[in-house]
Amino acid sequence: MSKFASYRVQAGAAALGLLALAGTSALAQDKEIVIGLQCDRTGPTQTIGVFLCPGYHDYVALVNSRGGVEGYKIRAMEIDTEYKVPPAVEAHERFKKEGAVLEGLYGTPQTIALTKKLEEDKILGTAPGFGLASSADGKRYPYLFPIAASYWSQATGAVSYIKKQLGGSLKGKKIAYLMYDNPAGKEPLPIFEDLAKMEGFDMRTFAVPAPGVEMGAQVLDITSRYRPDFVITHLFGRSPSVAIKELKGKGFPLSKVIAFVWGSSEADIKAAGGYGAAQGYHTIQFAGVGEDFKVIKDINAMYKAQGKPVPKEQEISVYYNRGVMVAALHLEAVRNAIKAKGGAKPTGEDVRKGMESVKGFTLGGMVPPMVITPEDHEGGGWVQVWTVKGNKLVKDSEWFQAYRDLIKKHLAAK
């Protein structure tokens, strides 16, 4: 007993010493701007985080290697929240303490939980592909920026794409909506209802309960009973690959399937049995896909110059590029803020104004031609459709937006 006790005392003293060390490390520097990034590298959505967040850091490193943003070095501080809400709250407070001017959020429950705090602390948060579709309304959510197509915009994008594919008219057509049975899955339903009335098509919803790996019954219902002209899928995690397999297995042509943004990566296609098995599968994207971008080549050149191999995370370019895109928009907002202040160090409020003046920043096609304004924090809801052809995803459309009036009507309704 006594021996144990003395070990414990020593261990406790050591822990205290380390804590003190931790406290002193956070020295703020004058020519440094801190950005907080929440990520999930170990939780339920880690299959996305392990590709997305390295993309973010690589872009920041690239900019820093060229002297930073307007002379300021960027320190992107990342905290892994494991897709849980309490660590996200802690992460936000940590970023605030470190003087972050901007925060990248990760995950819908976390985004929702922090909405109020961001507003009270006057730090803007970006939630690309997460959070409420209504947060596109900058008047209602002044500190929350989706900066990517919301589920509403993805819904209108999907329907407009289907309309083009089916010959310009949806009258009398049938569209199945295969969705994950959670709030995010149900979010586009009011948009679909209105679109069905406007365009005269019939839509039926097929809900897949969590964790979404068992959907044989729903898919059989779609392929044998409902027999739709097109299927829209809105699934998360492992379930998109299951949907591809099931639809393929029941003989439904994948060229009549379009997936929302979280079921659209190379990882989903590989898990479903590879490109050969997923020919024709359409995916909606809010960032460019693949390696044919100058920024990706620059990142690779930076790694080569340091004598390091090219990051292996680029293998899943859909997520890696999203990370790059988010980083690029963050730094563009910071750049706008510094310019507006004539070179002085910006505050969170300045960066919000900087984000609200992002315009014509496309990074060679990687980022959509979005225009973020104080009213529209979504930037216009631009999407691209990429289709599986041969051994890769091939661009099937340029950046487009659809049915903006309908979305504006829904945003105003709240």
Binding site: L21, H57, I112, E120, G131, P183
Partner: protein, 355 residues
């Protein structure tokens, strides 16, 4: 005597009933009150207070689960669902009926207690792992109902924004203000549990846990007390959910899914089943350990890694270390941190004259 008791010299019922029979215990409690009510809010900045706030909320939930699992011996993996019941009840009352927190908070607790008692009905017939599965069903059913009932969930993404709690016209919104708000309820929950477990009800719970047939024979109405245990435990969970709602300013059931139930079970098992202090230790351990590990690792790993590599390494090592430490503490003391603390305390009680 300040320090050491010897023998029992109680001459009145009041002395026998005292929560703190030793002067040193009273002094300790006074010091703890001083520490938490005065020194901590003055000494710590917003960041550390926010961590403490999360711990305080977790304490309320862990105490509730410990009443059910630790004291009554009825296992439940539906604790998070009861939190969401409390959260949505309070959110709806606060938004649609404009009720203040001192109405919505007990109302959320009562609604959760009612739902908890219903989910607890299978406990009258089944025990152990079978009951665990029955409460798991309760968790999933409650989640499903909230997800599919816009009248409860408020429509958009099943979330309801709630105004900040107000007291005498003041909005409580900074971490410091919310700290006092949460501290009050965490302290209330702790004192209430300490008293509950030494009351007739608490003794009946323990009797049921130790041997339900024997308890029935000595006159404990086990049906009534099992349901009561579910109701009280769920009341705490409901209050915990309401506190979360006010702390975040929004109710959203995705914060109360099955993994949260498991987290709370982990808290009470690591802290010590059937002990109030254990619930508190467990809540502190599970909430703070990942944060402490990261705070310690960041400067060390930062010496030879850049920002991008650091995040990847730290989050992975943290997970391994967290799991390893849980195993380590459970192996050196299977009865939890509370027992570990008691061992240390007993050692120093007779120090330096140990025998």
């Amino acid at each position: 005597m300040l320090h050491r008791e010897s023998g029992t010299f109680k001459t009145s019922y009041a002395a026998d009933m005292a929560l703190y029979p030793l002067p040193i215990a009273r002094w300790t409690v006074a010091m703890i009150v001083l520490l938490f009510a005065v020194i901590i809010p003055l000494a710590l900045d917003d960041y550390y207070l926010s961590i403490l706030n999360l711990v305080l909320i977790a304490i309320v939930g862990a105490l509730g689960l410990n009443i059910l699992v630790g004291y009554t011996g009825q296992i439940s993996v539906g604790h998070a669902a009861f939190m969401s019941v409390g959260a949505y009840t309070a959110a709806n009352l606060a938004v649609h009926a404009h009720m203040p927190f001192w109405v919505t908070l007990p109302a959320g607790g009562m609604m959760a207690a009612l739902v908890g008692a219903i989910v607890g009905i299978p406990s009258l017939r089944i025990k152990g792992l079978y009951l665990a599965i029955a409460t798991l069903a309760g968790q999933l059913i409650i989640e499903w109902i909230i997800n599919h009932t816009p009248a409860i969930s408020g429509g958009a993404q099943a979330s309801i924004e709630v105004p900040r709690p107000t007291l005498w016209g003041h909005h409580m919104k900074t971490q410091g203000q919310l700290y006092f708000f949460l501290l009050f309820f965490a302290a209330l929950a702790t004192v209430a549990t300490l008293n509950l477990v030494r009351s007739r009800i608490g003794r009946a719970f323990v009797a049921i846990r130790d041997q339900d047939i024997a308890a029935e024979i000595i006159g404990v109405d086990i049906y009534r007390y099992k349901l009561l245990s579910f109701a009280i435990s769920s009341f705490y969970a409901g209050v915990c959910g309401v506190l979360y709602t006010y702390y975040l300013g929004i109710a959203n059931y995705e914060q109360f899914q099955i993994n949260v139930s498991i987290d709370y079970l982990a808290m009470i098992i690591i802290g010590g089943l059937g002990s109030v202090l254990g619930s508190i230790f467990g809540a502190i351990f599970v909430t703070m350990l990942p944060i402490v590990i990261r705070l310690v690792m960041e400067p060390l790993a930062g010496l030879f890694l850049n920002e991008g590599e650091l995040s990847s390494v730290v989050s992975s090592v943290r997970l391994v270390l967290f799991g390893g430490l849980i195993i380590f503490f459970l192996v050196i003391e299977p009865e939890g941190l509370n027992r570990l603390w008691r061992n240390i305390r007993n050692y120093f009680r007779v120090w330096p004259f140990s025998y």
